[in-house]
Subunit: 105 residues, 2 copies
Amino acid sequence: MTRESDGPAVAQLELGAVLSALADPHRRRIVTELVIAPEDVERSCSSFQAPVSKSTMTHHFKVLSDSGLIRTTDYGNRKGVTLRRTDLNTRFPGLLDLLASEATP
Amino acid sequence: MTRESDGPAVAQLELGAVLSALADPHRRRIVTELVIAPEDVERSCSSFQAPVSKSTMTHHFKVLSDSGLIRTTDYGNRKGVTLRRTDLNTRFPGLLDLLASEATP
């Protein structure tokens, strides 16, 4: 069964929650990788590398999803994530550009 | 004796520290008030209202100063704060505009 996470609607996106989510370097790196990707394709959660445990990564994806930065889809045996680029650019213009400008090559 | 706080130089401003500082609603409100002020005049720390203790406010000003969002000047009997607007606009273009757009009238 495929199940999409219900993050906040675009009008309910809160800057405080988004900034808190992005304050963590691992979470910021996940979002930045999605921001600078040439295409907005869905990525599998397991494709992100970080020197933290799997359960910590699960927590990070939950925080990102709850804040509205990403949308996660549960396929049962794996999870996919996409950036909510349009919603974020609508609600917080300039935020994703700021993250992109900080991306280390 | 007047003493200016030594925050990070503009090249040393870190997005993570700035986002962490802004994730707190009281700290974000202090910065937003400075961002939307018609002129960049120095304000006294005590002119900011928040439903928290004086020691908590002192902590908030320290976090803001350490992250490089504000510059504080200690006049002995009072402290003044100014926004590092030029430095922030140079280092993180769009960040202050984002805060201004979230300001509640």
